[in-house]
Symmetry: C2
Subunit: 561 residues, 2 copies
């Protein structure tokens, strides 16, 4: 385990640092990354981590090269207790427990809440205390002087127990604006008691980057021997810039979360900060080039765990971050990618996308086809047919921007490359809610399907947890013996959008299905789309494409290529 | 129509400004807002504006107090042509047409593309030109000297036709870093030819706020008589901070979009910039306090038009921007809201939310109830039951964070306030795809429902464009004569989420339904949730809540209160 203790500016007064922590010289360009996805990120509205989630995410963060992973707050809830009781094995990162200063009226040694944190089993703890006289009075009901004692006693107790202490100065920027002397005295107290890091928190997210720069600069001047960190929130959409401003003014630790998770508008987004620090500003982190190339994957992994649709517009890692839609851009891109790309997408594990859209001309479409490995002569007589078909379908409500598998199938069908593996002659689905024999209200779905496959008509019936699942089950009953490769395929997400009537057209329903294959994870997720006036019809089309895509990817039939 | 021509710093050399434009003295604190939602925002992946959309959005932006509205690119596509042929009536904003410099080999007077823009019918045009020698060579195939002629001729031609000209300097920051003299000479040429504004564009979004500040400062020093604007993109998640940095260095126009719409990672988000400029930095804009209070509404209106789910975490306007989940925060909030709120949410038309969540304790729940107008004695014996019920349901997969109507019904049911307007004894839905008599493949959905309502059992059957629509139609056949208030109610969105099995639990489906009432728009949208192992069952529960909520809001029965 590497203990990361860069000192900015180089510690001129090392005696104020608890002597038992090994101080390792780290150059000025080294930024320490502190991830609080599992603690502050868990405050996100709609987010709820299980213990298994926390373990898996911590392992990934460690592999990425994050320096500190805040796992949670021992004693605050059962999930966090279970996580600290069974922490994951980390190769690089320091697992950190979060807690707060002792309560008024308890000694630090006897405060039950604090003890749960200090006995959480970590070598490092992050302890939050008020750094605003007003917040101390309002939230804790203590005088400013008593608050200083809470801070000093708490840090000293943790240091005395051999722990590395990070002090999170809550409401620091608001407190500093209100009473700079008092805010500084809170930091001095923590520093004097042996805190290894002083982290300045913009708790309500209201401080702008320029103000952060000024205040961090003032703190660095007042406490030249202290190592400073920054903790921002995105309430003005400047959390990333605020963290960068703090680094520019001397902070050397950034506390943030993957994908900017966090309550209200989120915390500083490490997924955006890491590549900016490394690729644009020349800072070092615990992440190497290989780790950086895993950034997109880790961002998406977190969303998958949380069952959230990834933000397609996210900086660096979003699916659209390097997407080009307009014909003008796509043409210029072909000449020189740096014109419209600020970095090479491969460096963060992302890739360039040429988007198929209503604005798409022939050039865009050909670029898009080349991207998925289909080379077509621009003069091929089928190209105008493909352009027209895409335009007509988009007019009907299809969108291939987000349903890449359906687009690929559409193109390959027009090019005559996709066999009709099976044909559905008719189907019927029945959903029934009724009282069963045991007096329980139950809802059952059942589907009957007539399929022509390999020159034979087959009719099957199956149950499911809804009409689409029942239809899927019925299809599989016929298809699985013929195409064993379908065994691992599963539906991951199902989204329905009602396209409201505009410009006098009739309302239609668009269904998007995401699928994956448990036995062929290299395929990733694939997305298909169906559009119809009837939602079952639209769903069935998307399902049909999803199965066809899997079979096409498995050529020769039934066996993975 | 007010022509807004602030000058920063106060024009010391007014003769370089085209003499026919009335120069109006505007104080140094006035920021001109230029909205490009309808042009650069239309490049967003997945976004496609109709003419009607553009007209409606422009009208809203004008009401808000935006100074310039870029409507599109005349001649580029049919939608933009139709929009400029039928522009909306604006009270405050200047409608602007976008275009590019003349092509090499055409005179400005005879360039067909440029003429389409200059004849678009606006009094103001925004013309983009290259300001990087490399981009000029690569993208336009002209020498740096020829590119200067393209800029000068184009601006001069537009000015000669009596138009106000804004010059968008494409790739300015990359160009300046590469060759500052050349980049400046492009600006000088546009300025000398009479451009009213020089807008510095960070086209590929790769420039960080500090670099923007330095370069804008250098430009302001080199061209003291010019009015400068800034146009940033969010590729490093710092577009908002970059715009603020430019303003700090002397720029007085910001080009951006509502909700940060735009290709790749989006443009600078005006929805975040406006309140920061006005409430935190003391700048004036064309927006007054009343306009600012409509910001949240306008942000959501745009999402509704585009059929996108609003970003709940958006700065200022997101549903969670002032949401408080943790018990610690909620308790402190009750004492002093400024502790965790950087501004008062009402100032931007948003409101505080106390989130109901698994972490919710009694205090949170009571705050949440108070927020929706339900006052309960904390010692009421029903409170523990409500806390337990919410926790149990959230464990089952319900989420009331996002389904406020279902939460309110749950609470009021436990408090005995919600009558059972109707009870569904059983239902059956059938979806069938078959060939009809005319040889067409059609899919039909039909539902049969047995309902007990007002002491009578009724059985009905109806068709729909899917099983849920058919069930809804069957319900309405019975309910509408008894509750005429349901006539205006319509389903707006329907979202299905499959909750993947974790920790050994069984997979369930969560359905969220958004409804609104065409005849009672003051009700806004209301969201309901249903969870079940069967998607039809979950959908039906959400639908049942949606109808019940509408009826409850219309007390006394069937008549709007």
């Amino acid at each position: 385990m590497t203990i990361l203790t860069p000192s900015i500016p180089p510690a001129s007064d090392a005696t104020t640092v608890a002597p038992h922590r090994p101080v390792q010289a780290v150059p000025d360009r080294r930024i320490v990354l502190y991830d609080t996805t599992l603690r502050d990120g868990a405050q996100t509205q709609g987010v709820d981590f299980s213990v298994v989630d926390k373990q898996a995410i911590a392992t990934e963060l460690d592999r990425l090269g994050i320096d500190y992973i805040e796992g949670g707050w021992p004693g605050a809830n059962q999930t966090d207790d279970a996580f600290f009781a069974h922490p994951p094995k980390l190769r690089h990162a320091v697992l950190t427990a979060f807690g707060m200063t002792r309560r008024h009226g308890h000694s630090a040694a006897n405060d039950p809440g604090l003890n749960a944190v200090l006995r959480g089993g970590t070598t490092s703890v992050c302890l939050v205390g008020k750094s605003s006289d007003r917040a101390a009075e309002l939230a804790l009901g203590v005088t400013p002087a008593e608050n200083l004692d809470l801070i000093g006693d708490t840090v000293a107790e943790a240091v005395a127990r051999g722990l590395e202490v990070l002090f999170d100065a809550e409401h620091f920027f608001d407190g500093y604006r209100r009473n700079p002397e008092y805010a500084l005295s809170c930091l001095q107290r923590a520093h004097g008691a042996g805190a290894a890091w002083l982290v300045l928190c913009d708790t309500n997210g209201g401080t702008l980057p320029e103000q952060i720069s000024t205040i961090v600069g003032a703190v660095a001047a007042a406490l030249p021997a202290a190592r400073l960190g920054i903790h921002t929130h995105n309430d003005t959409e400047t959390a990333v810039a605020g963290s960068l401003a703090a680094v520019g003014a001397g902070a050397r630790m950034i506390q943030g979360t993957i994908n900017g998770l966090g309550e209200r508008c989120g915390n500083a987004n490490l997924t955006a900060l890491i590549p900016t620090l490394m690729l644009k500003l020349g800072y070092e982190t615990g992440i190497n080039e290989d780790g950086l190339r895993r950034l997109t994957e880790i961002s998406h992994m977190l969303d998958e765990r949380l069952n959230r649709a990834p933000n397609r517009h996210a900086a660096y890692v979003g699916e659209n971050a390097f997407a080009h839609k307009g014909g003008l851009h796509a043409a210029a891109m072909a000449r020189d990618s740096t014109t419209y790309e600020h970095i090479s997408p491969e460096r963060v594990g992302n890739r360039r996308h040429i988007i198929v859209s209503e604005q798409a001309g022939r050039a865009n479409l050909l670029s898009r086809l080349a991207e998925i490995g289909i080379t077509v002569d621009p003069d091929d007589r089928r190209v105008p047919l493909l352009v027209e078909t895409v335009k007509r379908r988009e007019f009907e409500g299809f969108t291939y921007d987000g349903a890449e598998a359906s687009f690929e199938l559409l193109a390959r069908r027009i090019l005559g490359e996709v066999p009709e593996y099976f044909r559905v002659a008719s189907f019927r689905a029945i959903d029934e809610r009724r009282w069963n024999a045991r007096g329980e209200l139950i809802t059952m779905s059942e589907a009957t399907v007539k399929i022509d496959v390999q020159d034979q008509r087959q009719m099957t019936v199956a149950e499911g947890n809804g009409p689409i699942h029942a239809l899927d089950s019925a299809l599989r009953k016929v298809l699985l013996p013929l195409f064993p490769v379908l065994a691992g395929m599963a539906l991951v997400d199902y989204r329905v959008r009602i396209l409201t009537p505009r410009d006098g057209t009739r309302a239609v329903t668009r269904v998007m299905i995401d699928s994956h294959d448990l036995h062929a994870t290299d395929l990733g997720r694939w997305s298909t789309v169906g559009v119809s006036g009837n939602v079952i019809d639209a769903s069935f089309s998307a399902l049909h494409d999803a199965i066809t895509y899997r079979l096409f990817r498995a050529r020769p039939e039934g066996v993975d290529a």
